[in-house]
Symmetry: C2
Subunit: 327 residues, 2 copies
């Protein structure tokens, strides 16, 4: 990287702090470059490949494309972080399983480091998004703890405690989708009954409200708005159980902020308003809950913000965000 290719003044800390984050989703791969302060300087989207070779190729292509967009060499990036929808060992960069990507036992971190010449870190995508959302939203609220509640096909959370990612003792922190909340609820693929995920997730919506609409939760909301009784019932169940997830997160960890993201969060105001209403309803009959101000702690990820990619870039930072035990 030569002098005339330097980025503009916004990159105050110099190119040594230029980091890349890649969010490898089931169908698309989002990549961003951020500066030392976490500002997004470049962004790129590609289709995701399936299987180890294709995922590696599309990730390398995303990083190279971003480098070329910014007129730098990939090796000029100070770090690369990758968010993966699956089970990963963030210490070694190994992907244990990522069913939707066709990955099993892939040394993704080592492979990417070798191919791109930049130190690569791998993180679960919900954890990465938690860090991205924390970076974007927590500062303004002076919050030091946050849960990111991902409403995708499933339901899971990522925790940022005291400004650091809390992965848990075995990497399973935030698996609240499999907490049963109704003994007479539906059977969950996990083998339990009435798990939160069976009531408040993309799969819960499509099971209860089958549709050809590309955005089933949007179709459900519109039908409920039009007065379809069955849709109203499923919609209300969704809201109440997202509210349940918020209550579980606050009562267990007492995070200052719960940020809702994932596909269903693109519903925007109707979702946020509905969840807050459910929380306020509970508070009106429980002084204890009222004292916790649950509804005041809930936010949505701003539409279009690439939380997981930005968070992946931050995970990949050399300062080692996130606890690694023993420390």
């Amino acid at each position: 990287m030569t002098a005339e290719l330097r980025l503009d003044g916004s990159l105050s800390t110099g190119t040594s702090a230029l980091r890349v984050g890649v969010d490898v989703g089931g169908t698309k791969t989002d990549a961003v470059a951020v500066d030392g302060g976490g500002e997004v300087l470049g962004q790129l989207r590609l289709p995701t490949g399936f299987g180890a070779d294709a995922v590696l190729a599309s990730t390398v292509e995303a990083v190279s494309g971003l480098a070329s967009q910014l007129s730098v060499d990939p090796r000029d990036f100070s770090s690369l972080g990758v968010g993966i929808p699956g089970s990963v060992d963030s210490g070694t960069g190994r992907v244990t399983h990522a069913v939707n990507l066709g990955l099993e036992g892939l040394e993704l971190g080592a492979e990417l480091t070798a191919r791109l010449g930049v130190s690569a870190h791998v993180e679960n995508d919900v954890n990465a998004a938690a860090l991205g959302a924390y970076h974007l939203l927590a500062g303004a609220r002076q919050s030091h703890s946050m849960a990111y509640l991902n409403l995708g096909t499933g339901l899971a959370a990522g925790l940022v405690l005291g400004g650091e990612l809390w992965r848990g003792s075995r990497g399973n922190a935030g698996e609240i989708g499999h907490i049963p909340v109704d003994p007479s609820g539906p059977l969950c693929p996990c083998g339990q009954r009435g798990c939160l995920e069976t009531l408040a997730s993309g799969s819960a919506v499509t099971r209860q409200w089958p549709t050809d609409h590309p955005r089933p939760a949007q179709a459900l909301f519109e039908a409920a708005l039009a007065g379809d009784e069955s849709a109203v019932e499923v919609w209300e169940r969704l809201l109440v159980n997202v509210a349940s997830a918020v209550r579980i997160l606050v009562l267990t960890v007492d995070v200052d902020l719960v940020v809702i993201g994932g596909g269903i969060s693109s519903l925007g105001t109707p979702l946020l308003g509905g969840v807050r209403s459910a929380l306020d309803r509970w508070a009106s009959s429980s002084p204890f809950l009222a004292s916790l101000d649950l509804s005041g702690r809930v936010e949505l990820v701003p539409p279009g913000f690439p939380a997981a990619a930005v968070g992946a870039a931050l995970v990949g930072a050399a300062d080692g965000t996130g606890h690694r035990w023993p420390r």
Copy 2:
């Protein structure tokens, strides 16, 4: 403290590290002195007074009595920590409410510091016990995260994450007793329905199984063992819902260890075995739960170990155990 009054060789780090911890319970006050390594060097029990003056007097008496037992002056203690069953501001030492002790808005830390001439810290008793149990049990297991699950009149947890107490953003971490787990469960005094505390706590036992026995849970267990059908039902409900609490703690925070304490934990093996059986039953029909090894993570506080007093002594340590935000 003069040379001839020095303690024996077990106090290897010197008297500067001699700390006192006091657990102010509803009926009794337990005090311990610990050395720099957390070893208990002295122990004392007194009845607890009711109201600000009486609580202050019995706490001062406990600390003075312990000093005299160890032939030191109270001012020779390097720190004093006090565990209180109520809402406390651990930063300032103020007790906001402690209903069972008759305290409201008491500057307990400042008052004790003034009266005893030793720096006093105040902590919620469940948090203090969490730190005490962590100190005793986590090291041997090389655990860096633990939840202490207190089964007293109510149900609440304390969290130690990465070796430090996690109090939450507003001091409410671990309030899992008020997570509803059954929409058709009993009405809770908190205003919600089917809270964990209404199904798995001392008050849950006495509501469902009224008895004059001084240890109602023991009476319940004995009746269940003798084949009383109604007792069997209440006993099973207790076990299953303690298991639910363990599941909530592990799925949300992924603590490596869940240590059960509080009055009900004195039941010992029947309680631990019953909770582990419930967890194993769930695991047998859920590969996901089986992979988490919930039953392998559960332990009991050893009988007679003064977890809250020892933890209070550690909270009071000058090295500032526990997160205080912003840091």
